[in-house]
């Protein structure tokens, strides 16, 4: 009887360690990625709003050519901006149009994040359940 129990306990522990925990780690990583994307777009939105507020028509910036070598660049006309809409496409938009789609993009990202959060919560719950089961199995013999 004890042997059986010990084997079961071992199987449960293995299940937790090999399946659930890596799943959890992966889900968290994916969610972090989406978080970053979201941050990028929110920054973009803020900057665009800034530009519009100060009516900045041209700007100068430093472009990274690779390996942290920068070259000066000038944007003479900031009216048109190319926004990444996924799958490698960039759409040429005016400010107002851009300011319309960027929030939409952000919303989509927020929904993705929520999904990931649910998944993570699920996995965590599963881990808790299995460890509870193991504890029960361990406690019964002691009683």
């Amino acid at each position: 009887m004890d042997r059986l129990r010990e084997e079961k306990i071992q199987k449960f522990e293995e299940f937790v360690d090999r399946r659930l925990k890596p799943d959890l780690v992966r889900a968290i990583a994916e969610r972090d990625k989406v978080f970053e994307q979201q941050k990028v777009f929110s920054d973009l939105r803020k900057n665009l709003e800034n530009l519009e507020k100060n009516s900045i028509t041209s700007l100068r910036s430093m472009v990274n050519l690779g390996s942290e070598v920068y070259a000066q660049a000038e944007v003479p006309d900031t009216r048109h901006i190319f926004v990444d809409v996924g799958l490698g496409f960039h759409v040429e938009l005016t400010w107002s149009e851009a300011l319309k789609i960027i929030p939409a993009r952000e919303e989509r990202l927020a929904r993705q994040i929520e999904e990931y959060t649910r998944l993570i919560a699920q996995i965590k719950a599963q881990i808790k359940m299995v460890s509870q089961g193991i504890r029960e199995l361990l406690q019964l013999p002691e009683e």
Partner: protein, 361 residues
């Protein structure tokens, strides 16, 4: 009958352990290889950047898409196409022209290169390790055994042994003595022939030229030499010679000092005679070149001693104007000892004694 022990390889190196070790080392190898690949990628980026930097100043402006954050672009132009800002690290930037930046990047590339090389060397060593482990694993699995037997030395000739059997050192010394004996005999036979260039062996030429230089007594010292039996005996012939010629005590003491510091025996006598010659300019030439010649082969204690001795000689002797570069052979002499020495380049290789006689100049 020779006794021996038989040990099975598998008892020393368990095949399983060897395999495990081999696997482990292979993992480390793959890690290092990844690092090498990463460095290689950096290097490639570097080269492409260098090419880009070379082409940019060709135009006043370049039409580009200027990134605005990570997800948007502005159409714009690259201006000031010859000015670049390079990150030097720790938040320090340097504004440089295209050419200067290219140089910076090239230097960085060199550093990457050396890193890659060292990593490759490490990988090579690790590969040897794995192959070794694999081999031992297979051998142990096959049941190869290791057989050890005690080595019984053969009794060597009594003629050759001077000091009582002290492995290589004594045998070298005895060999040197033998060679000197032979040369002495032949030299005595050659005595009285032409003084200058002859087609005789270097040692004889040396002796005869010494005679022409009016440096006495070498033959005497040489005669005395072949009877060494310990580090003290050479002192006697040297002393003898000096008292014979009435040379000053000062060089002698130097000789003595040097001799006592030297390990080899018969060589010291030659060297001490060399010190006497140190006064004359030609000797320095010879000693220096002999330093060069003997410096290359330190196999026998004698030649190394000769080298150290000749160095000391040149130190306190007057430094002649011998600034010939060492080309691996004794080729050129500055003064009197002209062509005769040239032929000696190849000879000294096998006979340590002959180099000695060279150095006696």
């Amino acid at each position: 009958m020779v006794k021996g022990t038989v040990t099975s390889l598998s008892s020393i190196f368990a095949p399983d352990d060897a395999l495990k070790a081999s696997v482990h080392v292979q993992e480390v190898i793959s890690q290092r290889q990844k690092e090498v690949q990463q460095l290689q990628a950096f290097l490639n980026d570097n080269t492409s950047l260098v090419n880009l930097l070379k082409k940019l100043p060709d135009q006043l402006h370049h039409d580009i898409m200027v990134p605005f954050g990570k997800a948007a672009f502005f159409p714009g132009k690259l201006i000031h196409t010859n000015e670049f800002m390079v990150l030097l690290g720790e938040g320090y930037y340097a504004e440089r022209t295209s050419k200067q930046t290219v140089e910076i990047l090239k230097r960085r590339g060199k550093g990457l290169d050396s890193q890659i090389e060292s990593l490759n060397a490490v990988i090579k060593d690790l590969k040897f390790e794995t192959s070794f482990f694999d081999e031992t694993a297979t051998e142990a699995a096959e049941g190869i055994v290791e057989i050890r037997e005690d080595y019984v030395e053969e009794a060597f000739d009594e003629d050759k042994a001077t000091t009582s059997g002290q492995d290589d050192f004594a045998s070298i010394l005895s060999r040197i003595d033998q060679l000197e004996k032979e040369e002495l005999e032949s030299e005595l036979a050659e005595e009285g022939e032409e003084k200058d260039e002859a087609d005789i062996e270097p040692e004889f030429r040396n002796l005869e030229i010494k005679e022409s230089l009016d440096i006495p007594v070498y033959r005497d010292s040489h005669i005395k030499v072949p009877t060494p039996s310990g580090s003290n005996t050479p002192m006697r012939p040297v002393d003898h010679n000096i008292s014979k010629e009435g040379l000053s005590r000062a060089p002698m003491s130097r000789d003595e000092v040097e001799v006592s510091t030297l390990a080899s025996t018969s060589s010291s006598s030659n060297v001490s005679s060399k010190t006497r010659v140190a006064a004359s300019s030609s000797s320095n030439a010879s000693s220096k070149t002999s330093v060069a010649a003997s410096g290359s082969s330190n196999a026998s204690s004698k030649t190394s001693v000769a080298a150290s001795m000749s160095k000391e000689v040149s130190n306190f002797g007057s430094r002649s104007s011998n600034d010939k570069a060492f080309t691996g052979s004794i080729v050129e002499r500055t003064h009197n000892i002209e062509n005769s020495q040239k032929g000696q380049t190849s000879a000294p290789a096998s006979k340590p004694v002959s180099r000695f006689k060279l150095q006696r100049k």
